[in-house]
């Protein structure tokens, strides 16, 4: 049936771009079909994949439906993932990651401003490694891409959410250094720098 095919394709495309289980109600809303129809399409897809011995399968798990690779190919995928570039993170990458973690969402310009050097290459390598991802754009900054950390990042550090990051204040320079900075700042007449000379916000 033509209509069935269109619905099936839309559901498939949606599952394809998702990296977490999608609920029937979400699918239903996005593809504009009744939940029962969606449910049936999901069942059909799942059977189709199984019958055709595809490399992936559609499973219903907590929270909805999600595409998974077929367990039969576990070893092949394992070998593939193990072959990924194993070079450790450079100091530059660690700095950029730290800035994104604490200032997210942040634009590349924001990262540049804090690090004082161009961070383009280093950010893309973090994206490649799945530690940082793009999330939308900042209309206030010429639609610059905003970067956030990924779920992989949280998992690697065993964090439930970003609120669990240790507060930065704990790691601020000691009070002596801080007061020295303040003194020197106040010794200069007028505002230290015009507002718009500051490329980024520190908070």
């Amino acid at each position: 049936m033509k209509a069935d095919h269109a619905l099936r394709g839309a559901v498939e495309a949606l599952l394809f771009v998702s990296d977490e289980p999608v609920s029937v109600s979400t699918v239903s809303r996005l593809v504009g079909a009744r939940p029962t129809e969606v449910e049936r399409a999901l069942q059909t897809l799942s059977e189709e994949y199984r019958d055709a011995e595809r490399g992936f399968q559609l499973r219903e798990v907590a929270g909805g439906w999600r595409l998974y690779t077929h367990p039969a190919f576990h070893d092949t995928i394992e070998e593939y993932v193990l072959s990924w570039d194993t070079r450790r993170l450079s100091q530059a990458a660690l700095e950029a990651l730290a800035v994104v973690a604490y200032h997210q969402p942040v634009t590349r310009q924001g990262v540049n401003a804090i690090r004082g050097v161009n961070s383009e290459a280093v950010l893309s390598s973090l994206v490649e490694k799945g530690l940082v991802r793009e999330m939308g754009r900042d209309p206030g900054a010429g639609n610059a891409i905003l970067y956030v950390t990924t779920r992989t990042f949280l998992e690697k550090f065993g964090l439930k959410d970003l609120g669990e990051l240790p507060p930065l204040e704990e790691f601020a320079p000691d009070p002596k250094t801080e007061s020295a900075i303040k003194e020197r700042l106040s010794a200069i007449e007028g505002p230290p720098l015009a507002e718009d000379d500051e490329p980024a916000e520190i908070d």
């Binding site: 495309a13 394809f16 771009v17 998702s18 990296d19 595409l67 998974y68 690779t69 576990h74 995928i77 394992e78 993932v81 193990l82 990924w84 570039d85 194993t86 450790r88 993170l89 660690l94 700095e95 990651l97 730290a98 800035v99 973690a101 604490y102 401003a113 804090i114 690090r115 004082g116 490694k129 799945g130 530690l131 990924t150 779920r151 992989t152 998992e155 690697k156 550090f157 964090l159 990051l165 240790p166 930065l168 704990e170 790691f171 601020a172 320079p173 250094t177 900075i181 020197r184 700042l185 200069i188 007449e189 007028g190 505002p191 230290p192 720098l193 015009a194 000379d197 500051e198 520190i202």
Partner: protein, 253 residues
């Protein structure tokens, strides 16, 4: 670049010229180089009226067109401004311009194709859903040996370094003093009283920087023709007399 506003309509001199030679009906051999040159110059004038800074690229092509036009009306050897067009006869310059326009048109066409391609491509989303949990642990641990604490220290340290940098930059360059602001201040004083002196403009407690910037402000106003400067004795005070707005006012009254 200041002609960016203009580029919304024309991407450059070739784009404008291409537009001009294209817009007439094709089968009528109606428009001459003289017309094109005329219209081209008109366009540039309009851009200027709109307060758009006309880039030198546009002017260069205008000059070349006018040279060709002049030469075709009154044939005589002329020199062209562009290095590339230099030492060329009007005929050669024209040929070169035709070749350049044809090449540009080719790439304009390609650009159109690329734009369409990119758009249709954006309707296809690559698979990048990330690894399933069971493979995550297999991924090389890029963060091996890195602790959260370590990350926090790195971030705090960066912020600290930035503060120190800004502090030192502020220290070395002192507080930036806006010249524009001082020009305004001097101009206002002059507008109010018609005349003043350097001594009146700077107070005893002024920093050296303020002395300098006030002096620069006076020079700026002098350059604009808004002020006349006199210094009757060496090292004496500098006297300033307003020129511009006052005179206009007197003319009006």
């Amino acid at each position: 670049m200041s002609y960016q506003v203009a580029t919304e309509i024309f991407e450059g001199p070739f784009d404008l010229l291409l537009h001009l030679v294209s817009k007439r009906k094709l089968d009528v051999n109606a428009i001459s180089i003289a017309d094109v040159a005329g219209e081209y110059v008109e366009h540039i004038e309009r851009m200027r009226e709109l307060d758009l800074d006309v880039a030198s690229d546009f002017l260069l092509v205008a000059a070349t067109l006018l040279e060709i036009k002049a030469a075709s009306l009154l044939p005589q050897p002329e020199l062209f401004l562009d290095e590339e067009f230099e030492d060329l006869s009007p005929e050669e310059a024209r040929e070169l311009l035709v070749v350049r326009l044809l090449t540009y048109k080719t790439f304009k066409n390609v650009a159109l194709e690329l734009g369409a391609r990119m758009e249709s491509e954006a309707r296809m989303h690559p698979r990048q859903a990330g690894l399933e949990e069971r493979f995550l642990k297999l991924m090389p641990d890029f963060l091996e040996g890195i602790t959260l604490r370590g990350l926090a220290v790195i971030c705090a340290d960066l912020l600290h370094r930035r503060e120190v940098f800004l502090l030192q930059a502020g220290h070395v360059a002192a507080v930036p003093i806006s010249l524009d602001l001082h020009v305004d201040r001097v101009a206002k004083t002059l507008a109010a009283s018609g005349r003043t002196t350097f001594g009146e403009l700077v107070s005893a407690g002024c920093s050296v920087a303020e002395f300098v910037v006030t002096f620069l402000a006076i020079l700026e106003l002098y350059k604009r023709g808004d002020v006349e400067i006199a210094q009757s004795t060496a090292f004496g005070d500098i006297e300033l007399v307003a020129v511009g707005p006052r005179e206009r006012k007197e003319e009006g009254s």
